[in-house]
Amino acid sequence: MPLRETAPKLSPDQYEKNFAEISPAMDSRQAAIEAARCLYCFDAPCIAACPTHIDVPAFIKKISTGNLRGSAREILTANILGHSCGRVCPTEALCEGACVMHEKGESPIEIGRLQRYAVDYVLDNKIELFSAGAPNGKRVACIGSGPASLACAAELAKWGYDVTVFDRNELPGGLNSYGIAAYKLRTADSIREVDLVRQLGVKFRQKMVVGADISFADLEKQFDAVFVGVGLGETWALNLPGEDLHGVYGAIEFIEETKVRPFNEVEIGRRVACIGAGNTAIDVVTAARRLGVEIVYLVYRRGEPEMPAFAYEYQLAKQDAVSFLWQTQPIRVLGQNGVVTGLECVRTQLGSPDAKGRRSPAPVPGTEFKLVVDMVVRAVGQKPATDFLKAIKGLEVNPDGTVKINDLHQTGNAKYFAGGDCTNGGKEVVDAVAEGMAAARGLDAWLGAPRGFS
């Protein structure tokens, strides 16, 4: 069933231009100049601000001395996904936010771009920096092939574990391949990075739904321990009348389309409303504009100051001329013949701050109005993968649906360890990497296998 009206198709060149990297690779001259700016701080605040604690001044110094291999080793030892992190980390809230240059009245060192520069060198030249450890006889399964599992698997493989990754998707990489905005990271680059993990002897079994294609019992029989890195589930429903009309999408599902299909084959309306104002909502509205949508509304119950998206992300949406409807709550999706034709909304008033300091919105009667749109995207967060988690005996979940873990990242079922979005409730790629690595250390400590460094 077609949408009522679709956005005009653009030329292939135009799509490529629209989705061009917003933070392009540095050339060697730019990298040399930027690296020379780094002060080489002692006990540098950027190191502490990075969840994976990459020794930033050390890798930057190595760039400025021309030791790119050493620089990449420094990065990838701390964070095997240093390439994608360099591209997708919200650096202004992490390493670059802590850079002392702010206090000096200068722009912070472009840590993310330098990081990518160094890692690109080993990826482009196919330099293998790490090798699998001598086999220690232990087998580990990782469920999911997102950043958390990749980091966990790489770490274990270096120590001699025999690791197999199971993922239900066709391609490995988790949200790196299916969720991150295309102008930050293309699926092909995510796959290139996964090869760093494959090089360590980690086996990937794609299109395998754990719990269906392979049972937990089989998994437990075949493996000494299991890492759960399943991320979150689908987008929450809004429970609005009309939500089942054709043309209502979940954010993750819509973004996945933009990642796995040629841009001209993505179904996209002429006018689009996106509900929510987090980082994912920004990804939706910026992708929609880049696909040629005439007008994109971002509909949010609270006001601009309450917007959860990072300032940098908000800026992107503003540059893309998105129409922001603050203090606006959707009440019904309008349709005709089963297809979306509009979104009915109401203005809200913000009450006094609650316990968490957030002001709850209340609809103002009589302020209802209708937006004419051909597509509605829900971007109100992802549900936890509750059904899947419940199927693991003994594994406990917190009230917010995140997996309960101890200091070793071990779940209620001693054989299962967990990390990433499924334990932190949905953070960033770099957090998933840090947690995947921490879980690898916990798992290793629990199994007590001798480390088989090669």
């Binding site: 020379a36 701080c41 002692f42 006990d43 605040p45 802590a98 002392v100 702010h102 000096k104």
Partner: protein
Amino acid sequence: MADLTVKFAGVTSPNPFWLASGPPTNTGGQVMRAFDAGWGGAVWKTIGEPIVNTSSRYGAIDLNGVKMMGLNNIELISDRSPETNFREIYEVKKRYPKNLVIASLMVESKRESWHAMVRRAEDAGSDLLELNFGCPHGMSERGMGAAVGQVPEYTEMITTWVKEVARIPVIVKLTPNVISVTHIAAAAERGGADAVSLINTINSLMGVDLATFAPRPVVGGKSSHGGYCGPAVKPIALHLLSTVAKNSRIPISGIGGIGYWNDAAEHIALGATTVQVCTAAMHYGFRIVEDMIDGLSQYMDDRGFRTIENFRGRAVPNVKDWGDLDLNYKVIAKINAELCIGCQLCYVACEDGAHQCIESYKESAKKNAGGFGVHVPRIIEDDCVGCNLCALVCPVENCITMKEVDSGDAPMSWNDRVRQSSATLTLPFPSGD
């Protein structure tokens, strides 16, 4: 407005800024453009029997993206005939009578040869002569340049030969590649020199290409030691200048690492009457003299100096032997926490590289705009020896300052101590050159 004209060895220069002998003064065309730009004088590229140069011939070191902190060359004297050079000097002087042309000469060590060359230079209309006894490479192997300038007797002898015929003032250009430059300067004075200039370039090897193991600058896979100059050599030039200025009243033309008006002003404060510039003109062209003139005038106006003589040599008496410095004078470092950006370079410098008198931050009282802590370290004032290192490494201007503190003791130098103590063995202190 400050008056920048100077009298040097009896000759008047419109300002103290001269181009040093080198590539910028190779030809009449260049020198005339330089005078148009504002240079007061030009020391011609050294004239002698024409030589053949190598290709390549210059090498440089860059520092943290700053190009040409130091420059080296294995170039010899002019590769053009004396006839051509003297004809062009004649042309230049005809058109620019007020600007000074200084003929730099280097001749085989024969009395008649020197006599002949001096006469030709004078006939061409040169205002002064500069005897190049400094070139450290190539010419010295042929018994010229540094081969003369490193031996006081030769320096004196050739200066005497030149003075036998010269009617215009004679400058002897000194090489820094000696144990004591004051001895050579004294020899030049004995030979009758009217002035000295220093420094010529410093012996150096610029580096090695690690792929081919060819030293730089590469000449068909090989290289040779050459002369070092540019910003990196200024401290060495200033030191040698100060020793000559302390030991003699002879007029001095200061050379070495001058790129800005303040470099020139420092040379003047240490006794130079004129200054010469080579590398900076090679790097940026003749127009750099504009700010040299403007900046020096501003400085002099601000300080109330009407002429160069008003402040020339003012720093010389303050250059002391170490043994005369006050050991009871004390400074300690102060960190301005407001300006501190939290890089902690001072901490690690003092901890690893000095005297362990700075404490790393404990907790960050200060936060940056993004809410990240700023790691402000703390000086342990009782332990601080006042070495300056922290202030030198601090990337923020005025964040770490050295504050005078009263040590409570009367001034006392090492030499005072030695004099006062009855049973000391007195170590003679070197007079520091």
